[in-house]
């Protein structure tokens, strides 16, 4: 009997331990965000957003890096979306039973687990050297497109799977071919889910640093790219450069740039979640 009482005590104690573990994790997140805000919010201003990199930490700004990130996001999306959509449609609507499709599926799961720096090496060899694109926005965009392709395919497939079969069957019953059904019925119905997946994948892509460093992003690029073959700077790489500088004042610049990056990342993630809610409500 005594041991049962002790068991109940330990049980109740664990409730607190579990709660504590959860709170500690959230507390660390809060501490970490608070520290960045404290260090960087003083530097945030229009001048910072419109300024160019400088040797004086008080004058440095992220204009070039911010535009570089926007360019990278655009090119990554432009390259990844057609390929990802096509691959997901194939796997989901067409090749469900074939050995080819099974091989591709296993392959995609493996690719999703490959470290991002390996994609950087792939980009260095194929896009920078073999295709002679140099350390340009285009090379970076293609590399990051390959990086997010597995995620994009998986989320697009989820979205396609969520479209009820009745929609497809009704379309076939009216005499439409598989492609007509896919293009005119299934894709529009799944568009919310697909968009959600794309935004989440982009949020991941704009935060990537390692592949860009391996491709050869330069230390000092004080202008925004004028074309896809131009050199560029990017927000994560600029942050990395400023972190590496030991003067404390650059730490404030890094923190301010991190705030901007987090706003972008959290904004994209939040937008995706909101979209997912709305899309789920629309499906029967």
């Amino acid at each position: 009997m005594r041991s049962a009482a002790r068991n109940r005590l330990v049980d109740r104690a664990f409730r607190w331990v579990g709660l504590l573990a959860t709170l500690v994790s959230l507390l660390l997140l809060a501490l970490f965000l608070a520290d960045i805000l404290h260090a960087g919010v003083g530097r945030l201003s229009w001048a910072f957003l419109r300024g160019l990199p400088s040797r004086f930490p008080e004058r440095a700004g992220i204009y070039a890096a911010l535009l570089g990130t926007v360019w990278i996001g655009a090119i990554t999306a432009l390259v990844a979306v057609p390929v990802g959509l096509a691959a997901a449609v194939y796997l989901e609507e067409y090749g469900a039973k074939s050995r080819w499709a099974a091989l591709v599926e296993i392959n995609i799961s493996n690719l999703a687990g490959v470290p991002s720096i390996i994609y950087g090496l792939l980009g260095l060899e194929v896009f920078v050297r073999f295709w002679h694109l140099g350390a340009s926005v285009l090379a970076a965009g293609c590399t990051l497109a390959l990086l997010i392709l597995p995620i994009l395919i998986v989320t697009t497939r989820e979205a396609l799977k969520a479209v009820p079969h009745t929609l497809r069957e009704a379309s076939y019953a009216l005499g439409a071919t598989r492609w007509q059904t896919t293009w005119h019925q299934v894709l529009p119905a799944a568009s919310g889910g697909i968009l959600t997946g794309l935004i989440l994948a982009l949020a991941r892509a704009v935060g990537e640093t390692a592949p860009l460093v391996v491709i050869g992003v330069l230390a000092y690029v004080p202008f925004a790219p004028a074309g896809p073959l131009d050199e560029f700077s990017a927000l994560p790489v600029q942050i990395f450069n400023w972190i590496a500088r030991p003067q404390k004042a650059f730490g404030a610049d890094a923190a301010a740039a991190i705030i901007v990056l987090l706003i972008i990342t959290f904004g994209l993630n939040g937008g995706a979640i909101y979209l997912r809610q709305r899309w789920r409500q629309r499906l029967p």
Partner: protein, 292 residues
């Protein structure tokens, strides 16, 4: 008229799907070719047995172990933080917490996983390292401890949500039977549910390990750039990923031994993560069969 049109479209779609296979082939190809160039100049025995990595200096050593040791050391610290914490949270969520609590807290934990890793690196260097230096005497400015701790926080959501999935997959009847025998929630959780979900939890740990092994920015910023074979988490070390970044930041003249060492390290990294991922998937398939 429509048939060939349809078949063309199907072929194009299949080709797009094939691009992913092409990507894998591309990765394997470039790693293999450059590593082969590396091994034409460096004996495999040296690579696997030497205990120093100084490929660029006068006295050249090509032992991969210092870099692998650095990678494993930071990973070990990360898992030592993430596993107990993540498992506790997962048990708490599935056995104790209310649904509303889960609904509110779960997304907050997911935020941890969506933060870019360069931001974690900043945190490690500017907050965690000075804080640890006040507590741990003799801690160097760059160390595996500091980077590993922050990595642990980063992979925490992986461990907790995958363990949670594993725990919820265990059939209710096991839990109810345990309660029927008079066990407390804690006893049920740790003596019945966790062992029943053990392969799922193992998968969670393996995938988190794989994520930690492949991590670059946190260790590049906070763990140091000194390859050394050690189990001491308080000194600067260098991981496989940091070495690749370090040499890529300089100029990489195509075809030199320096260039090839990047790919030798890259191949080692790829093999490690490939092994871990596939062991994880094999475990997961075995786990799924148990409750088929």
């Amino acid at each position: 008229m429509k048939r060939p049109h349809e078949r063309l479209i199907e072929a194009l779609l299949a080709l797009s799907a094939g691009l992913t296979v092409l990507t894998t082939a591309g990765i394997i190809w470039i790693l293999a070719v450059e590593t082969w160039h590396f091994f034409r100049q460096v004996p495999l025995g040296d690579f696997l047995t030497d205990t120093q990595w100084t490929p660029l200096f006068a006295e050249k050593h090509f032992g991969i172990w210092p870099l692998v040791a650095g990678t494993l050391l930071t990973t070990a610290v990360a898992v030592a933080v993430a596993l107990p914490l993540g498992l506790t949270i997962a048990v708490y969520f599935t056995e104790y917490a209310s649904a509303r609590f889960r609904q509110v807290v779960q997304p907050l934990l997911e935020i941890l996983a969506s933060v870019p890793t360069v931001v974690y690196g900043f945190f490690a260097l500017t907050v965690v390292t000075p804080a640890l230096q006040a507590v741990v005497p003799g801690l160097a400015g760059f160390s595996a401890l500091s980077a590993g701790l922050v990595m642990g926080i980063m992979i925490l959501p992986f461990v907790s949500s995958l363990s949670e999935d594993a725990l919820t997959a265990v059939p209710h009847r096991l839990r109810e039977a345990s309660y029927a025998l008079g066990a407390t929630r804690l006893q049920t959780a740790f003596r019945v549910m966790v062992p029943a979900a053990s392969s799922g939890i193992t998968v969670a740990v393996i995938l988190a390990l794989s994520r930690a092994v492949g991590e670059t920015m946190i260790v590049a910023i906070a763990a140091g750039q000194q390859p050394r074979l050690t189990a001491n988490p308080l000194v600067p070390i260098e991981t496989l990923t940091t070495y690749i970044v370090q040499v890529s930041s300089g100029d990489v003249a195509y075809g030199t031994l320096e260039y090839n060492t990047i790919f030798a390290a890259g191949s080692t990294l790829f093999v490690l993560t490939l092994l871990l991922n596939n062991i994880g998937y094999w475990f997961r398939r075995r786990h799924q069969q148990q409750y088929a």
